[in-house]
Symmetry: C2
Amino acid sequence: MTNDKNIQVGFVGLGIMGRSMASHLLKGGHTLHVFNRSRPKADELVAQGAVWHGSPGEVAAASEFVISMVGYPTDVEEIYLGKGGIIESARPGAVLIDMTTSSPDLAKQIAVSAAQRGLVALDAPVSGGDVGAREAKLSIMVGGEKPAFEKALPLLKLMGANIVLQGGPGSGQHTKMCNQIVIASTMLGVCEGLAYAKRSGLDPETVLQSIGSGAASSFALNNLGLRILKNDFAPGFFIEHFVKDMGIALSEAERMKLDLPSLALASKLYQQLVAQGFARNGTQALFKNYEP
Amino acid sequence: MTNDKNIQVGFVGLGIMGRSMASHLLKGGHTLHVFNRSRPKADELVAQGAVWHGSPGEVAAASEFVISMVGYPTDVEEIYLGKGGIIESARPGAVLIDMTTSSPDLAKQIAVSAAQRGLVALDAPVSGGDVGAREAKLSIMVGGEKPAFEKALPLLKLMGANIVLQGGPGSGQHTKMCNQIVIASTMLGVCEGLAYAKRSGLDPETVLQSIGSGAASSFALNNLGLRILKNDFAPGFFIEHFVKDMGIALSEAERMKLDLPSLALASKLYQQLVAQGFARNGTQALFKNYEP
C-alpha cells in the first residue's frame, strides 16, 4: 500500500491551492479521486484523468490516502466527522491527511476518531502560497504519528520541498499558527516602515535599497513591500483567510493563557479592512490602514 | 582635498561602533584625529597612530572631514552646536558627517548652521551592528547635498558596503527610522511566534526548520530567534539604544500625524524591559516579556 506506484489517492477541496497540489499527485502516477463543493473547479483535473465522486465520503471509500484542502475548521469538521463523511466511509488502514489550516484541537479530535475506526490521521498545513503549490515547493508542517508520516511522505514530497514532522496530532496546526503569528507582526513592521517612508517624503524604493538587505530584511519586506509600493494589492493570500488563521491562533493563545498583544493588534487592523470591503485583497493591503 | 591619500579625518565618539569604524579610516592611509569622552577607549587607536585631541572642537580644527558616532541626540547637539563645538571650530570647506542615529530635525538644523559657516553637513546613520562595523559592511543611509555626498564617498566606502544617498539633510535619519520601525514589529512577531511554539509544547528549533525559510522568514527570525532559543540575551544592539531610536521615530510620526500602533506597542514593551533592568541586554530580550 505504500508502494510508490499507482496509489489510490483521494483529494477533497480543489481551490487555487488544492487544484495545484492534486495535479502533482496525478502527474506522480497515482489514481486521483476528487470532490469539490463546486464541480467546475474539478473539470481540468477530470479531463486529465481524475475520477469525480459525489461526496467526500465517496472519495474516502475509493482511496488509500485521503487528502483535504478546504476553507474553514467548520468545513474540516463536516467532511471528516459528519454523517457519511470521511472517517465513517474510509477503508480500514487508510491515511487521512488534512492540509487545511485549521484548529489544533480539531486535528486531535479527528486523530482520535480516526484511530477508533482503525484509520490514521495527520494534520499537515502548508506555507508557500499559490506559487509554492504550483511549483511543488510548499513547506508542509506535519502533526501525527511517525509511521503514518513515513507512509505519507512519498505523496507529500510530490507537493512540497520542506516537509517536517513537528510532533503528535495537532502539532502541524500549532506550527502553522507560529508561522502566521510571525507573519502578522512582520507585516505590521513592513507597513509602518513604508508608511513612515512615504509620509516623511523619502522615496520608498530608495529606502528599500538601504534597509532591504540588513537587520530589517524579511521575505515580507522584500516581496510584499515591493507590491505595496507598486499599489499592487492582488491576493497572493486573501485577507479573509489570514483573519481566520489569526482567530484560531488567538483563541489557542487565550486557552494557553499566553498574551500576544501584537497579534491581537494585527488581527484588529485586518478585521477593519474586512469591514471596509478588502477581504479578498492580498495581505499586503494592510498598508491601506496607514494611508490618509 | 578629495584626494584619496592622507586626508585629515576627525572622529568623535569611540564606542564599540566608532572604534571599529575609525580603525578602517586609519588603515585606509588617512591621518586620524580623535576625541572620546572617556580617554581609555582611544588608547588602541592612538597606539596605532591616531592623534588625540582634548575636545570635539580641537578635532574639527585639525580635520578636512569630521565624523561623529556618539550616543544621543543631546550629545550630537552639544558637540556640533555647542560653544567651542565642531561647527564653531571647523575649517572652512570641511565636511561634517554625523553617523549617530539621531533626530532628522536636528540633522536639518546642523546642516543649516554648517552652511552659515561655509561648511557642509551630512547625516549618515548606519545599520549592521558591531559585526558590520568590524567587517566594514555597514549599510550607510545618507542625507545631504549630492556634492558633499560624493566628496565623502571614498571615506564612507572604507566603513560600509551599502551606501545610499536618500535625499536632502535629515533623509539619512528618516531612513534609519524606517529601518528601526520595521525591526520593532518584526521582533514582536519573532517573539510572539516562538513564545507560542514553546507554550504549545512544540520544539521551537524544529519549528524554525519549518518556518525559517518561507513567508515568515526574516533576518530577525533566523538570527535573533536562534539566540532566543539558546537563552542568549547578550547585546548585539542594546535595548536602551533601541528605545531611544523608537522614541525619535514615534515623535517624528506624531509630528507627521501618522499613527504607528505597532511601533508604539513595541516601544512600550521595550520600556517595560528597561524598567526591569534589561537596558543593556540585546534587543532579542524582548522575549522575556512573553515568559511566565
